[in-house]
Symmetry: C2
Amino acid sequence: MSELPIADWQTLAASKRKAVYDKIPVQWRLPESLTSKFNETSTISVLDVPSTCGLLTPRELELTSNYDATQLVELMSSGKVKSIEVVTSFCKRAAIAHQCVNCLTEIFFEEAMARARECDEYFAKHGRVIGALHGLPISLKDSFNIKGIHTTIGYVSFLSKPPARTNSNLVNLLYDHGAVFYVKTNLPQAMMTADSHNNVFGRTLNPHNLSMTPGGSTGGEAALLALRGSPLGLATDVAGSCRIPALCCGLTSFKPSAGRVPFGGGVAPGRLGAPSPILPVAGVMGRVVRDVEIVMRTICSADTWAYDEGVLGVGWRGVQPCRRPLRFGLVRGVKERPLHPPIARALHSCATKLTAHGHEIVLLDNKIPDIWASNILAWKFFMLDPRKTALKYIQDGGEPVVPSLGTTMVEELRGWEPSLDELWDMNAERARVVRAWHGVMVGEALDAVVMPGNCTTSVKHDGYGTTPYTVVQNLLNYPSGILPYGKAEEELDRPFFRADAVYEPSYEAKAIEGLPAHVQIMGKSMKDEELMEILKVVEKTLAE
Amino acid sequence: MSELPIADWQTLAASKRKAVYDKIPVQWRLPESLTSKFNETSTISVLDVPSTCGLLTPRELELTSNYDATQLVELMSSGKVKSIEVVTSFCKRAAIAHQCVNCLTEIFFEEAMARARECDEYFAKHGRVIGALHGLPISLKDSFNIKGIHTTIGYVSFLSKPPARTNSNLVNLLYDHGAVFYVKTNLPQAMMTADSHNNVFGRTLNPHNLSMTPGGSTGGEAALLALRGSPLGLATDVAGSCRIPALCCGLTSFKPSAGRVPFGGGVAPGRLGAPSPILPVAGVMGRVVRDVEIVMRTICSADTWAYDEGVLGVGWRGVQPCRRPLRFGLVRGVKERPLHPPIARALHSCATKLTAHGHEIVLLDNKIPDIWASNILAWKFFMLDPRKTALKYIQDGGEPVVPSLGTTMVEELRGWEPSLDELWDMNAERARVVRAWHGVMVGEALDAVVMPGNCTTSVKHDGYGTTPYTVVQNLLNYPSGILPYGKAEEELDRPFFRADAVYEPSYEAKAIEGLPAHVQIMGKSMKDEELMEILKVVEKTLAE
């Protein structure tokens, strides 16, 4: 990358951003009078911009607002709606979303429309669908490769790379089942912060409140989905990247067990060959559980091993909907990161409702391994590269480190350097943690665990910090889902305020008022199908 | 272990060996006139000793000689034969086998008979079996734990350890399905050579020819099985330990994909927490494929995750028997270890028969990654412990290193020291190897690969050397099976002699005359069920 003039990164980045913006047809652009209000210090919500800006026709608003992904596929599969109509509507709405919250990294509307017509022609000719996702637009994180499209993952030094020559394996699989790709979405520098902010594409804003983070690392996806600029999104997750954005933006997400979903063929933010037991996985983000399920079922029911040498090739098992009362473990917090009132209330309310519906709740507070210690252990695994390759990628581009990158790692590890000898002990320690959790899950006969996905709702940009509540599932390789539930409401939250708690980040009730709250439901390793059914039960219970 | 007088290891070992021998009832002992002939320099076969020594009744000979494990279970499950009869017969025959080839490390006949009576009483009371392995005696490698029994794995320094306080997870599972354990079997020092030789229990001999190795590391099992002192054995395999002994002793064995069979709860020969992508697995050894299958199906059909936190919990899929012609890749050798004539002949004959039966053979010679390089890479992963814990365990006992321990590792790695930095590159290299093999398996639409399990039949003690033909499956995490096929016959083998080949170990036709030959059939990762069906096809084809 030495051919890049070091001082030039701002120009290169500006040029890239302009190139992305230029892919938005002129007639889909918002007036500057509107967009000038959208910035990272503004506290406004932009959720109603798509319906009020006047760019979307009533039909486009209907298609993007009134149906979930499952319904859209049904409409297209029965010939009632054409893919080109659905895809065009979402392209348009995604363009609007981008102008509100800066969520896209690559736009390829023309290719998507050509693909949509291909789907429609196939249907017209054969009288049947290409696959279970026939004609459905799906957005995806920038780190996935799509042939012919750039994959910079926000590194200035990657701007000089040629477009991807091949698709990610997951992209190939979903194409074969009828999916239509049209945009890639923003992510943090090095993909290791909960703020989707990098020097190439800038910062993605939370559509609920622009001064708040949309989460990361799959934050562009979440912001886009919250604005209904996409019906479904593909994420990755090694410490919460599929779940943190979901909980920040009020979405549903599912992080599967490792080896279920093809992960290969994308671009990594660091060195290949990590000797870590924590495997990154691809996950799904959407609005409702059944949408997430349709993608998971489609993927896992395919011959995944034919697409990807790294998967287990385990098919999606047909499990029965839950008919018996379930037993949930309940994790009420980590003392180093006490739950902010809105999250404590959501969790309490969820547990109460589940109990009211006949399910059992088992308090796990003193039964499970220390989650904070697991967070530190997980971060050691993320810091194993003696060459610090991700940092080198940053330096290669002459760009600065983004502010949030230093805040994700735990303080305890400042100055820590990895060694092969300690790595053995880390693995042995992880094995003990896995065994202890397994003992609780089996010993207590738990079906799943109800816990927070974070101690707060979304917070101000660069304020998210470390991620103990989402990384433990990666350390354990347990599947986990986020369900949106309620919102921060100072009045209702007040009884859950603890005067003795040291809230970190600080609890600012007024700032987060109205932001989505959530619960996290963690399943058991490789029992993704069972967790999906449990998520449906909890989703339904919370809605009552 | 500092309380052990260093000079005392010989006494300690002799005492342990005597304690094992003393567990053999006096009336089951062979006369000294016979046993004095059994030593590691004798070239005699002892395969007929059980039937000629006069210790076994006709009924005991019938039960141990005429039925495979599947039939034995059927006989017990239909009430025609009692477990106590079967177990007593195998205890007696195992005792004879031990006196011939020194294959046992722990004997617990009394506990086994009590368990057999328990099975019989259960059947009498409930009119049904405990499980799919009801009343069946199963032998297992010393490294598995059985509550109340010692697990020294042949380290002098482990002699002072208390008996196991818990069962290995696999032992628990098999107990729950009706298995009866009665002996544990010998293995090499550090479990990393193909000679089952250690300073506590001494050396196990090959019953086909006592001067030959039974293989390792699960060599005690193989010697016992070849003498029909057990119907089925449990092995482990990280570089071929379930397959090398099988091919040395003329048995069938199956190394599953990692995560299918519970592995936890045993005793490891080295440090815990290896940061290696090569996972040790538990495998099965027997005489015919259907016996191996009954164990694999029983294990995988159980809720394995309830027993072991390290498994994937993937059930045994019901796959149809193969009805279409299969496509086999064929690996004809590694230039550094050319195939000795009997193995080249077995492989050639196997390929010819498969072709004659309508199956396709695809030569892989120039299509696959270099197997020798993969062997070196795998050995680097085995040498990752900077503390050299296995060597420390040896030194703690004041015992010498056994001769074969230095011969397994490849010469290229002498003096090599691991580093965290190189470990990243090793992982990246492994990923390339896995991807390349995957490309061949998918691209050539292969169902399985026919290849040798070693370049030779069994060889003289301490002559086996390194294991390129069996470690590649561990590196890839592909399941693999050994099928016995024919035997070394100088006359028939002669056309397969290559004057230009540098045979390593040296080819000594007269020395190996009559020893079992074999083929290895490698399947695809996690497609253990498909491989099992393919093994049945090959087994049947070879028998015709």
